[in-house]
Symmetry: C2
Subunit: 333 residues, 2 copies
DNA sequence: AATTGCACTGAAACCGGTTACTTTAACTAA
DNA sequence: TTAGTTAAAGTAACCGGTTTCAGTGCAATT
């Protein structure tokens, strides 16, 4: 149906090799010949077949984005950023929800490899070293997002989690909190761990500090909700809560509301991430905002640079976070 | 590097055709030959190259999902559903954010065609008939989501928008509202139009009804916010607002809160969609819930059936909506 | 015994590109 | 004049599969 490279070659009276050269703007093709070929391409409405190109060149202009769950608003912003960058560089993106399951990731990676994908943005905490090695062997570029590790055999983009946590606690202290608790994310998740460490660094020397001020909330709304109930049972005098992410902070808010606590008068709440949800709650949430879009953008840009051979070394990029003060810690005037 | 079909053929001492037959479980291959081939495949860790398969068969086991913006929580649930179904059927999904721009959609469709994509789930209101025809010609299956139109030359999945709107208004009437306004979505958007029509049908015969009770809110939080301010200036006695989607309803809540109105005592609010945001607001939002995941699921299933040739005719599927009563209309006890 | 049908398999064309290698002709340097 | 470049283009192998068509051997039919 559609015209092929051979049709173009025939019509412009050159070999397919020459047509291919024109398409890929390779080496030296006589300007006049070039014109003839281009004219033929137009006449036939020729468009290179990307699958054939992929087979021959082993480059498919496709990247994949692996993340736990797109329903998480943090990730949907990431997706948007990655897609934007990909799109404007002529790449297409395949989306993969792993649910944080190694098995799912495994099977995705496998099929992606068989599809000659050019690179992967990996926004998940479950990447294994073997996988990294395997991908390298298959010449699939890799950028890891929101991941901490001492091992750095690949490029990593993340926000300053520990520093952000310190900022959060420091803000709570500033507004006068006398006993600050922390609700933390999944153990095993490096991001959650770094935030917890930041909290600990700030509070461990206070006389009121006790490890029982640490409660797990699994990075979910409901987790934050349950954690708050548990926490206030043990420590009714807590007057500040630093939640390890915004979703849990929402849960905190819900719980406090249900318990009839006033925010921020009785208890101040600070989240982490800066997803748009924080503007929707009542009161609006103070949070440590990551530059979410920029994280995704940077990850995609670096990945594409690697794919295009413009970047060799593997670096760790740590983006700054910012404290956004809202009504959950200070009443705006 | 990796083993090819010819390696397998050589090792198992058959032709590549036979190996291909084993791979695709086609026709009759002698069980013993089959065993030999399979053993060779295992020995060589052979995995068919999907790009080559795609080129030869013009089937790539890939579908695309075109939607306005993944950041919209409604769509992120859709994505999740589509991806789940695709995944479990051996398909991979390419995500395309169109921002509702015909130009972007156009360029996506073009590149998708060149990639031999098998089908498209189109979750946007801007589809043009020419595109539908073109896709048909290229043998690319199509399912349209959340789209209304008299033209039905393709399969359409949507919720009962008009009926849902009627349910919303009817609920507001039941709880005693005496003057109900409607904030509607973008003109030109069929979904928004149908909801508006449902509202009108329910209220046009009341003496209090006036077309000025209709205010545009663009399906965004901020749009709902502005609309509410405008509305209450003109109609301070409105005591019920039906927002055309949940995002606008959130905006309504924010505006009312700012104006010091009590919800639902002074004003009752009902949204539409049933995104999880409605459980996060204070008060929680009454809404007409669409079965969002099911919409995406159904769309993907139908698409894949069409791709696999199991489904020929084009149907319109209308899924039921349900009223979820929450504190923005009735105080729970 | 000749014919037909069927199960099984192979040869080779094909999908639509890329690219290593070669050839040709014109151009430069010695 | 002659060898050495170089720009421009062609030939054909190659990427790794699918599929059409043809052929073989053997059992069933007449």
């Amino acid at each position: 149906m559609a015209a092929t490279i051979r049709d173009v070659a025939k019509l412009s009276d050159v070999s397919v090799a020459t047509v291919s050269r024109v398409i890929n703007q390779i080496s030296t093709v006589n300007p006049e010949t070039q014109k003839r070929v281009k004219k033929a391409m137009e006449q036939l409405k020729y468009e290179p077949n990307l699958v054939a190109q992929g087979l021959a060149s082993k480059k498919t202009q496709t990247i994949a984005l692996i993340l736990p769950n797109i329903s998480n608003p943090f990730f949907s912003d990431i997706v948007r950023a990655v897609e934007d960058v990909a799109q404007s560089n002529g790449f297409t993106v395949i989306l993969c929800n792993s649910d944080g399951l190694v098995s799912k990731e495994q099977s995705y990676i496998e099929v992606l490899r068989k599809k000659y994908i050019d690179g992967i943005v990996f926004a998940s905490n479950t990447l294994r070293i073997e996988d990294i090695e395997q991908l390298k062997k298959d010449n699939i570029s890799l950028v890891v997002l929101d991941y901490s590790s001492t091992m750095e055999s690949c490029s990593i983009i993340r926000a300053k989690n520990r520093e952000g946590a310190r900022m959060a606690v420091s803000h709570l202290l500033e507004i006068g909190c006398k006993k600050i608790a922390h609700i933390y994310g999944p153990i095993g998740d490096q991001t959650a761990k770094n935030r917890l460490e930041g909290y600990e660094e700030m509070v461990h020397s206070f006389s009121w500090y006790s490890p029982t001020l640490l409660v797990p909330g699994h990075f979910t709304i409901n987790g934050g909700f349950e954690a708050t109930k548990m926490l206030l049972e043990k420590h009714p005098d807590v007057d500040g809560i630093f939640a390890g992410n915004d979703l849990m902070a929402v849960g905190v808010l819900k719980a406090l509301h249900q318990m009839g606590k006033k925010i921020p008068e009785d208890l101040a709440v600070c989240g982490f991430d800066g997803i748009y949800l924080t503007e929707i709650t009542q009161p609006e949430l103070t949070t440590i905002a990551q530059p979410i879009y920029e994280l995704g953008e940077k990850a995609a840009k670096i990945l594409i640079n690697k794919i295009n051979g413009l970047l060799e070394e593997d670096n760790v990029y740590e983006l700054d976070v910012t404290l956004i003060k809202r009504d959950s810690t200070i009443k705006a005037h």
